[in-house]
Symmetry: C3
Subunit: 349 residues, 3 copies
Amino acid sequence: MAALLNHIVQALGGALHGSPDRSIHRLAPLDTAGPADLSFVSHPRYARQIDTTQAGVLIVPPALQAAASARGDCIVTDDPYLYFARLTQWWKQQHAAAQPAGIHPSAVVDASAVVGEGVSIGPFAVVGPGVRLGNGVSLGAHTVLEAGVAVGEGSRLYGQVTVREACSLGQRCIVHPGVVIGADGFGFAPHGGQWIKIEQLGAVRIGDDVEIGANCCIDRGALDDTVIGNGVKLDNLIQIGHNVKIGDHTAMAGCVGVAGSATIGARCTVGGGAIVLGHLTLADGVHISAASVVTRSILQPGQYTGMFPIDDNAAWEKNAASLKQLNRLRERLKAAEHAIAQALHKNTD
Amino acid sequence: MAALLNHIVQALGGALHGSPDRSIHRLAPLDTAGPADLSFVSHPRYARQIDTTQAGVLIVPPALQAAASARGDCIVTDDPYLYFARLTQWWKQQHAAAQPAGIHPSAVVDASAVVGEGVSIGPFAVVGPGVRLGNGVSLGAHTVLEAGVAVGEGSRLYGQVTVREACSLGQRCIVHPGVVIGADGFGFAPHGGQWIKIEQLGAVRIGDDVEIGANCCIDRGALDDTVIGNGVKLDNLIQIGHNVKIGDHTAMAGCVGVAGSATIGARCTVGGGAIVLGHLTLADGVHISAASVVTRSILQPGQYTGMFPIDDNAAWEKNAASLKQLNRLRERLKAAEHAIAQALHKNTD
Amino acid sequence: MAALLNHIVQALGGALHGSPDRSIHRLAPLDTAGPADLSFVSHPRYARQIDTTQAGVLIVPPALQAAASARGDCIVTDDPYLYFARLTQWWKQQHAAAQPAGIHPSAVVDASAVVGEGVSIGPFAVVGPGVRLGNGVSLGAHTVLEAGVAVGEGSRLYGQVTVREACSLGQRCIVHPGVVIGADGFGFAPHGGQWIKIEQLGAVRIGDDVEIGANCCIDRGALDDTVIGNGVKLDNLIQIGHNVKIGDHTAMAGCVGVAGSATIGARCTVGGGAIVLGHLTLADGVHISAASVVTRSILQPGQYTGMFPIDDNAAWEKNAASLKQLNRLRERLKAAEHAIAQALHKNTD
């Protein structure tokens, strides 16, 4: 794999300071890049890295052009990180094998399914009655779409994905292997010490440009639908309960759990391992730190955290033991304050 | 989809106050229900919702009949939530396409498997030697049952489920996509800085009426079996370690992890994201709050919690920093109390 | 299933004190073992268990030989737990049906794949172009290996496993069902309130003797590879982010999440449900307790913990409320100390 610098700049813009015919063999991080590699420095505060990297070519912001040029070739652009993101897309497009259109002979596609142009369906995929696949949709090996599922133009579902009946995905979505969309939400009525199942009659509706990480689960709604907004990005192993609504362009890191009927705003971020309890609301622009537990609605944008600080085990044991007496400590402190006040009062008598 | 009110009452009971010929188009939550929809108010404390919902018909408890009748049709029943649960089951049965019995021609079913009457086996399913499937069992696409697996009458396994050798499920179980039952438990003997595998010779035994959410994992026992009691309900992405025993009718929310050899009682609940450590016991009727970590046996029923309260990040940072000095604060408080006592003593001299 | 004692000792060593022709029906834990079963006591501190177990034969350390012999047959060995681990392996080998070599006729194997001797490929497996499978590799039903994947000699991948393009596994690895190796890492550049995908151009490289639990996810690197060292053991439902490096013989319990670009040393252990944040380093020999959140690099070996101690809910509520005022309590304590000092000073005036 290789690409010429001037091809990159022709495709993506930026001001090239250096040799247009230079060949780039790899996109690489600053610390492992070599003389044939292209790397980037996202911000002037990382200027120091220019001196230590072995990268042959750097993408830099205008403020770093002089420093970068002093050591070799560079591409100057206002937002190097964005440029780099687009470059990875261009690079992959140049080098990845094209997904072959067509339906693998082993796939089971119901006669009533509506299949757009340029659709690719992998080995052992199962496409149920009434499924609609937009143009250019790609379904990986073993993917199962149940009756009535709709997948918008250009969306790609990798292998082993399950989409249960009547759920829908928008355009340009990416769904990684092992994802389960539309399994039953967790709903039971207690009765005589047992649990009576509440059938889940809603579905899942997913917007455009959504990416869903490997082995995530998004449950169907109990009555209304579970709804994932446009541009939402979910990392791996995330659980989204029934009736949840997630606003546009919200992103969640791995291992997050969102309980049923939570409503999460737009442009939120949820850190890895965080738990959002059910039947609550997060406003737009709320940011939850990793491993925090959201137990109440949060109606003001901002960063919110709740996590026990890690410590060496011996120190933790002492502090944890004290924590279990914290309320008593508070009362003792109050008593001490009272005694002090009395003592001072006596003194001034 | 639609149903007449009198068909509902004939099937499920309850006292109908209103027009038997009224057509219901949808079961709906109170806040999104329209005039053609049926909703429910579970308890007199929610009486206010009767005034604001647009639902055409309400299921209500006797205490709310007058209020409900004043605005339109209603069904009166002692436990509206239970009635509603059964109604969702009836509704689904009326409207869902029947699962076709029979074995899809692409499925690989070993000649020695014993297949009951009315069994449905989906495309690309794999049924190993000696597997026994009770009457009415349904296996989704791509489901794999290894040698010697037994599935009881009426149980339904959705697609992409794996049940490894010699594991068994009872009657009327529901297993959602991506579940792995009977993978090896996590057992190793340390030796010279390496880990020597302990082969897992037990299996998994699952009772009747158990529901297992998408992408859950239930490991096989090391020597004895891992055992899941009757009526247990597991949400998605739950990990059950080897040798665990879970009592009847216990329910766990999503993302719970139960470590090896834990014994959990009957009618317990475990909140989402909670972690139960291994080799401990929870009595019957223990309820663990979401995201709590169970580090010791709990032998008295009740609600137990351990979770860092979420706060805005700036406040959290201050409190977390103080928490790391909590034990020192406790000692300082003790010293202060001592000094006060001395001062007061001096004063009274 | 049964085995004679002298066959066991011939295969695994140890000093047999008892009847060589005795038949063992089962390996069993001490508390459920019967007279036909073999069990073990790992350490002299468990000597008491010798008196209560019904096990017919015991594996014991030398210090317990007298006590064990006083009650029946025993095998004496320096490390009974290690002996027991090897015995489970021997037992499984004796009793498990041999995995049939050969390619199931339903599998789709690309003509350019290089398949070693004695390889077993299960039903509906998909093996892409350029895949290399070492001698004795076993691929379960529905396993998908994309283009360019390499699997080392003797490795076993169970069913429903996905390995995406260009990723590699070493020799003697075990990969449990539902695992996804090489899905895209979670990388996006923010731009105008949206997320621009950073294509993940790296792969995953997994060493020898690695075991990966059911439904785990190991993401491919953004530019360089994600690297899992030799002898690493991962329990179920673990998330490993892109660019992570894990050192040799490190073990992680279930539900752990490791965020992108974390570097974890050799011979570390990470307890269940722990979260390791990204772009940090754990030294060799660091042990993280269950459910702890690693928010900073840890460069000294040792045990580290951060977890809210569980309590009955009422006590927790009081302590959690006080915790939210902990920094204020600290300031109040400081004020109280100051007042005491002043009062004492006055008294001594």
